[in-house]
C-alpha cells in the first residue's frame, strides 16, 4: 500500500486505493447498527491523516496535535451551544480557521526547534489548551463538558438522526475530501520537498529550500485538518468533553498511526480502524483490562512490524513475490 512519491512517481489513483471507499459505503448498507462507531472511526482517520502529513511526511514530531482537534471541537461546540450558530458548514469553516490560526501561531515557535525540544513544546501547548478549557467553565463547560449542541440539517436537507446515518455519511464525505487533498499534497512538488526535509534537513537548506516556511505551511494545513476533525466530532457527538485535549488524545493518535504505519497515507486509515474496533471489542469483553490488549498490540507491532500493519503487509507481499 505504499510506493515512492516524487518526480518519478505516477500520481494516478490506483484501483486498490478505491477499496477503502467501497468498504466505507458497504458498511453503511451492511452494518447499520455500527454507524455511530463508524462515524467515530472516520473522524479519527481524518485526525490521523492530519498527523501523518506532518509526522510521516515532514518529520515533525508532536505530542500536542490534540490542541487543534480540541480547539476545532470547542469552537464548533461553543458556536452551536452558546451562540446559536447551527449550520454544519459554517461550524466546520470556523473550526478550521481557528485551528489553522493556532497552527500558524504555535508552529512559528515550535518549528524553530527539533527533536526533544520540539516534542516538549508541542506537549506544553496541548497542556495549556487543556487547562484553558478546564478553567473557562462558563464557556466550555469545564470538567462537565459542553452539551446542548444543536446542529441544523446539512445543506438544509439532511438531518442528523439518532442512528447515525447522516453523521456517518457526513464523516465519510469530509474524509474523502481530506484524503483527496492530502494525496494531492504528497504527490505534489511540495510533498516531495517535505519528504526531503524529513530525510535530510541540512541538505535541503544546502539546495536553497526555505525549510522553516515550508514546515510552517504544512503545519498550518495539518492543524486545519485536525480542527475539521474536531468539529466533526462535536457535530456527530453533540457533546465536547475535556478528553479531546491534552496529552492523552495526542498520544492515542500517535499510537493509532504507529499501528497503521507512519508516512504511508493509508496507515492513517488502518491504525484508527484497528485501534477503535479493538477498543470497542475489548472494552465489552474485558471492561477493566481493555488497555492491556491495546498495549500488547502496540508492543507486537513495534517489535515485529516496525512499519506498522501496512509495513508488515508490504513485507509479506514482497516475500511472496520473491518466492513466486
Amino acid at each position: 500500500m505504499t510506493r515512492p512519491i516524487g518526480y518519478g512517481a505516477d500520481p494516478r489513483i490506483r484501483v486498490t486505493e478505491w477499496l477503502p471507499w467501497l468498504a466505507g459505503i458497504a458498511v453503511f448498507f451492511l452494518l447499520p447498527e455500527y454507524l455511530s462507531l463508524g462515524a467515530r472511526i472516520l473522524t479519527y482517520i481524518l485526525f490521523a491523516l492530519s498527523l501523518d502529513l506532518i509526522l510521516g511526511y515532514a518529520g515533525i514530531i508532536t505530542l500536542g496535535h490534540s490542541a487543534f482537534f480540541g480547539l476545532g471541537a470547542y469552537v464548533a461546540g461553543i458556536l452551536a451551544a452558546k451562540l446559536g450558530v447551527t449550520d454544519p458548514m459554517l461550524l466546520l469553516a470556523a473550526a478550521a480557521c481557528a485551528a489553522g490560526v493556532l497552527g500558524i501561531a504555535t508552529g512559528a515557535v515550535i518549528l524553530r526547534t527539533r527533536g526533544l525540544t520540539q516534542l516538549m513544546l508541542t506537549l506544553a501547548i496541548a497542556a495549556v489548551c487543556l487547562e484553558i478549557a478546564n478553567k473557562a467553565t462558563p464557556v466550555t463547560g469545564g470538567a462537565d463538558g459542553l452539551s446542548g449542541i444543536t446542529i441544523a440539517p446539512i445543506f438544509g436537507a439532511l438531518k442528523f438522526d439518532m442512528f447515525g446515518k447522516t453523521a456517518y455519511l457526513w464523516c465519510l464525505t469530509l474524509l474523502f475530501a481530506s484524503w483527496w487533498l492530502t494525496r494531492k499534497i504528497i504527490y505534489s512538488p511540495f510533498g516531495a520537498t517535505l519528504s526531503g526535509i524529513r530525510e535530510n534537513i541540512v541538505r535541503m537548506r544546502a539546495i536553497g529550500v526555505p525549510v522553516y516556511r515550508r514546515l510552517l505551511t504544512v503545519y498550518a494545513i495539518s492543524a486545519t485538518m485536525a480542527g475539521v476533525a474536531g468539529a466533526l466530532l462535536a457535530q456527530t457527538n453533540q457533546f465536547v468533553g475535556l478528553n479531546v485535549l491534552g496529552f492523552e488524545p495526542s498520544g492515542e493518535l500517535m499510537v493509532m498511526l504507529i499501528l497503521g504505519g507512519v508516512g504511508r497515507l493509508y496507515g492513517a486509515f488502518v491504525g484508527p480502524l484497528v485501534y477503535l474496533i479493538a477498543q470497542d471489542v475489548l472494552a465489552k469483553q474485558f471492561p477493566q483490562y481493555w488497555y492491556f490488549g491495546i498495549g500488547l498490540m502496540l508492543v507486537l507491532v513495534v517489535l515485529f512490524a516496525r512499519g506498522g500493519i501496512l509495513g508488515m503487509a508490504d513485507a509479506l507481499v514482497a516475500r511472496l513475490r520473491k518466492h513466486t
Binding site: G6, G8, D10, P11, K184, S188, P189, A192, T193, I207
Partner: protein
C-alpha cells in the same frame, strides 16, 4: 580578473579555540582552485562559513561583490553558491532522480506548488535526467541511493550541486572514501565541469588536487600558509614541512 567569491579577515572561534584566523581569500570567476591542508586545518569550517552553516566570528564574505555574511544558507544558494558535502548528505530513501530534482525544482520556483503533481513538471524531470546523463548516471535514475555504490553516490552529490546552476561550486573532498577503481569516474566528471563555474575543491588526495587545480591555497591551523600555482606549491618548503614534518638530523 574579478573575484566571484572573496573573504576578508574571516575568523571563527569556539570559546578560546580559534579554528579560523584572518582568512583572506579570492576565488576568480571560472577558476579551478584547491584548498588543502592537514587534518584539523579548518578547511571544512571555512566551507561551512562560506555556505552559512556556521556564522563567522568576524570578517567579511562577498559573493559577486555582495556581502552575503548575513544571509541564510538557502539565500546564498539562490545567489549561486552550491556545495557538496565531505560525508554524503543525500536523500537515502529517495530515487537518484528525485535527489537531483528537489534542487532543480527549487531553482525553477515550482517546489512549493501544491496542486500539480511533481511528476507533471516535465521541465524539472528532463533537466534532472539530463544532468544524470551527463554524469553517466542515467541508468541509475530510478534506483534508491542506498542501492548505489559509494562512488556513484559521490557523483550524485555533484549532480545535486550542479542542478542548482551555481556560479561558485564548493566541492568538499569529492573523492573521499571512494575506492581507487571508482575514483577515475569522479576525476572525469571534475574535468568536464562547465567552464563558467568557479570551483573550490577541498581535497586530501594530491593526485586529484594537482590534476584539477590551477591555483592552490594551503591552510594550516586556521591560517593561510601560502597560495600559488600547483608547481609553486609543490616546490614550497613550508608546505613540504607541513605534510612531511621537520627533518631531524
Amino acid at each position: 580578473m574579478n573575484a566571484v567569491l572573496e573573504t576578508r579577515d574571516l575568523c571563527k572561534s569556539f570559546g578560546a579555540l580559534t579554528v579560523a584566523e584572518n582568512i583572506s581569500f579570492r576565488l576568480q570567476a571560472g577558476a579551478h582552485h584547491a584548498l588543502i591542508g592537514p587534518n584539523g586545518a579548518g578547511k571544512t569550517t571555512f566551507v561551512n562559513m562560506l555556505t552559512g552553516l556556521l556564522a563567522p566570528s568576524s570578517g567579511e564574505l562577498l559573493l559577486g561583490g555582495e556581502d552575503i555574511s548575513h544571509l541564510t544558507p538557502a539565500a546564498r544558494v539562490k545567489r549561486g553558491l552550491g556545495r557538496t558535502f565531505q560525508i554524503n548528505a543525500l536523500f537515502r530513501d529517495m530515487s537518484v532522480l528525485d535527489n537531483v530534482a528537489l534542487g532543480v525544482a527549487e531553482r525553477h520556483g515550482v517546489a512549493a506548488r501544491l496542486w500539480r503533481s511533481a511528476n507533471s513538471h516535465r521541465e524539472v524531470r528532463e533537466e534532472s535526467f539530463g544532468l544524470l546523463e551527463a554524469l553517466g548516471l542515467s541508468q541509475d535514475a530510478g534506483k534508491r541511493i542506498v542501492d548505489l555504490p559509494y562512488g556513484k553516490q559521490r557523483l550524485v552529490e555533484i549532480a545535486i550541486a550542479l542542478g542548482l546552476k551555481p556560479r561558485v561550486l564548493l566541492l568538499d573532498e569529492p573523492a573521499a572514501g571512494v575506492p581507487s577503481l571508482e575514483s577515475g569516474m569522479i576525476l572525469q566528471v571534475l574535468d568536464r565541469l562547465p567552464g563558467e563555474i568557479a570551483v573550490l575543491i577541498i581535497e586530501h588526495d594530491m593526485d586529484v588536487v594537482f590534476r584539477f587545480a590551477q591555483c592552490i591555497t594551503v591552510l594550516v591551523e586556521g591560517k593561510v600558509l601560502c597560495e600559488g600555482t600547483p608547481a609553486e606549491i609543490a616546490g614550497d618548503e613550508r608546505v613540504q614541512r607541513v605534510y612531511l614534518g621537520e627533518r631531524h638530523e
